[in-house]
């Protein structure tokens, strides 16, 4: 649709504030970070151009490579384990079983608690000497499995990751909201045809939310996975031996060292990984969006 000249002025008037804010608070900082990533700068002296030195140092640093791997695992687990779990919960609770409001609140509750508080709680659970988990193992005769969960190379990262997977409330409510927009006539027709609840979920609910809330949640969760900082910082500070480090934590440590060039270079890598993730997720979900939207629209029209 081609805009009339008279329509352009109000359009720009409405868009300008948002564009200016976007430019000042996003585009310019990103450009700044990219520029600094090619500099050696301690935050005090004049930055000196060092070409690709910061990036070469990053890729030689085992801690950074570990951080990238951890972030990729985190993003994949978030997108493809945490969100599907949230989806299952959303589908079940959308059928409004007895006590569904209570469970909706319970699952969502961790979202209103600070991540720092949750990490502190889990640190107490994982403690080697007085931790709840080891006490539990001892009490059921599995004391030989007790260990320093956050201080053992093989268990530290899974321990940091695993408790967080089950905090599905945020994505669950997004998908529940979407599921409520699906026309009941689909389910009524399916019931008449003898479809079970499981079949209705597989053949009606999931296809209809796939390109909308499911895509949104997978994208959000993956991006959150890439941005992980507070719980790793609180639980392990990246240890032991950097085995739980993430890119943002690595960046933070470089900032502590006043090594702004390498901190910015790691931020640039994070941006690139983020873009790659978003593009891949969109590609995976591409092609079925229009189909699902059309189906939903048809359902509403029929209803």
């Amino acid at each position: 649709m081609k805009l009339e000249r008279s329509d352009r002025a109000p359009l720009w008037a409405f868009m300008t504030p948002a564009l200016v804010l976007m430019l000042v608070f996003f585009v310019l900082p990103v450009i700044y970070v990219i520029v600094i990533s090619f500099m050696k700068w301690n935050g005090i002296n004049t930055p000196a151009f060092v070409n690709l030195r910061n990036f070469m140092l990053l890729f030689r640093d085992k801690a950074f490579k570990r951080s990238v791997i951890n972030n990729v695992i985190w993003a994949l687990v978030a997108g493809f384990i945490q969100v599907p779990l949230a989806m299952i919960m959303a589908i079940i609770l959308s059928r409004k079983p007895k006590g569904w409001k209570f469970f909706r609140t319970v699952y969502f509750f961790p979202q209103v608690i600070s991540g720092i508080a949750l990490a502190t709680l889990w640190r107490a659970i994982y403690r080697a000497d007085t931790g709840l988990l080891n006490a539990l193992l001892n009490s059921v005769g599995l004391g030989h499995l007790a260990k320093d969960w956050l201080g053992t190379l093989s268990t530290a990262f899974p321990s940091v990751l695993i408790y967080w997977i089950f905090y599905v409330g945020y994505y669950m409510v997004i998908m529940m909201a979407d599921i409520t927009t699906i026309d009941d006539s689909y389910y009524e027709a399916a019931t008449i045809d003898g479809a079970t609840d499981f079949q209705q979920a597989i053949y009606i609910t999931i296809p209809l939310i796939r390109k909308t809330s499911l895509l949104t949640c997978v994208t959000l969760a993956s991006v959150m996975g890439l941005r992980q900082f507070e719980q790793v910082y609180m639980l392990t500070n990246g240890g032991p031996a950097n085995s739980t480090s993430t890119i943002v934590l690595y960046m933070y440590k470089k900032l502590q060292d006043a090594n702004y060039g390498m901190a910015s270079a790691s931020a640039v890598i994070l941006i690139i990984i983020g873009v790659v993730f978003i593009v891949c997720i969109r590609k995976i979900f591409e092609g079925r969006n229009e189909e699902a939207a059309a189906l939903k629209k048809a359902g509403r029209a029929a209803g």
Binding site: G43, I44, A128, D129, D148, G151, N237, P240, N242
Partner: protein, 422 residues
């Protein structure tokens, strides 16, 4: 009616703008982000001191304390504010800050002229030597610290020992005996900033390498040897030391299940706290100050590990009146009488020369004796190397203890951190 309302609003706005401006002209505000608050041992006396200063200077100078209860968060914030040109009027810093860089960049006030007026005589001989930039003092070494083991004599007696090990060979014999009794010989931590392990490493490095150990960076073989000794100590600490933080080390020590404790003198006040007493017996009553054991074949006998625990630095001021006010406040804090009181209440040690109070507790007196009798001193590892070493230390020590790297690999990891920051 509308006109009257508009007029009233305009008047209120003018008054609201004028009043603070008038107040600002009248009273100088000194912004002071302080970590000596909350549970810090210096907090109670510092609070009194600042209240007294504000009362004495009511209407002309007011010190506003910005409470920083998390040491690491305080460091992050202060670094950011200094870097962005918003240096607070008065800052507390430790050796992890790039004091030389900030001074050269003109971030701090030059205190030399004031010190030359006689104020400098209040400080220990040579206190400024290592920290001045082009002969000028921008950061005032204020709180000092020595690091020497403190041990629980009651636990030692349970293990069957009546003295502290004099050599590291004897030390490990003691550790074995403690282990046989199910007691933790030492507290170690590789979590958070690995503070306790960094201190032990510093003591071992000093014992092996002696006073010139830092002369060639990390090249001295003492660093590799010391790494092996530190690793061995992890066999005699509590479960979960790899992921432990300062709270865990302190908790075990206070629970009387660790025989030897290592921290700065500011921690002494906790030994005398009723809260930490068991059956009415203060922990201090069961404690003795020890010397760093001698390493056979090492060069460190008679040496001591120290640091500047806190520098005081002030932002460069354009307003001479404000500069005078800030200096007046720093002089007030560093007044020998006030420092004596501060030392008494906290147990901390200072670069300011003062007459110790006769009420000074026994442990603090013994620490002072250790400091006075030392033949030489070296900084702890965090203080001797760039900040990158203190950032990397927890990862390196956990890698060492878990067998990811050997002692040489541990030192290489620290060196790589220095190289990347260089």
């Amino acid at each position: 009616m509308k006109k009257l309302l508009s007029l009233s609003l305009v008047l209120i706005m003018i008054i609201a703008l004028a009043v603070p401006a008038y107040a600002a002209n009248d009273e100088i505000i000194i912004n002071f982000p302080s970590v000596w608050v909350g549970t810090d041992s210096k907090a109670p006396y510092m609070e009194q001191l600042i209240e007294a200063f504000n009362a004495e200077n009511a209407g002309s100078i007011k010190v506003v304390v910005e409470e920083q209860t998390d040491y690491q968060a305080a460091r992050d914030k202060l670094r950011t504010t200094i870097t962005t040109g918003e240096t607070p009027d008065l800052c507390i810093m430790d050796t992890t800050y790039d004091i030389k860089g900030y001074s050269e960049a003109g971030k701090f006030m030059d205190l030399t002229p004031y010190l030359d007026e006689g104020w400098g005589d209040d400080f220990a001989e040579g206190a400024f030597d290592a920290w001045s930039v082009d002969g000028k003092v921008y950061a005032l070494p204020f709180e000092s610290a020595i690091f020497t083991p403190i041990y629980n004599t009651k636990i030692f007696a349970e293990i069957g020992w009546d003295h502290f090990p004099a050599t590291y060979d004897e030390f490990f014999q003691f550790c074995e005996d403690a282990k046989a009794k199910g007691i933790n010989a030492v507290g170690q931590m590789a979590g958070e900033n690995a503070w306790t392990s960094m201190l032990w490493y510093s003591l071992i490095v000093e014992a092996i390498g002696g006073k010139d150990v830092y002369a060639n960076g990390l090249e001295d073989p003492a660093f590799v040897q010391a790494a092996d000794v530190l690793k061995a100590m992890y066999d005699y600490t509590f479960d979960g030391a790899i992921s432990a933080g300062a709270g865990d080390v302190n908790g075990h020590w206070l629970a009387r299940d660790t025989a030897i404790y290592l921290n700065g003198p500011w921690w002494v006040a906790n030994l005398y706290k009723e809260d930490n007493a068991v059956d009415g017996v203060l922990l201090a009553d069961d404690c003795e100050v020890a010397l760093n054991p001698v390493y056979e074949g090492g060069k460190g006998e008679g040496g001591l590990v120290t640091t500047v625990q806190a520098f005081l630095a002030a932002a460069k001021q354009d307003d001479p009146a404000k500069e005078e006010a800030v200096v007046k406040f720093i002089k007030y804090i560093t007044d020998p009488q006030h420092v004596s009181e501060l030392a008494l209440s906290s147990g901390a040690m200072f670069f300011v020369k003062y007459d110790p109070s006769p009420e000074t507790n026994l442990i603090s007196q013994k620490l002072t004796e250790v400091a006075n009798n030392a033949d030489f001193s070296i900084l702890h590892v965090n203080g001797a190397f760039p900040t990158a070493v203190s950032t990397e230390f927890p990862a390196a020590v956990s890698a060492l203890v878990l067998g990811e790297v050997d002692a040489q690999g541990f030192v290489d990891q620290l060196q790589l951190a220095i190289d990347m920051a260089a």
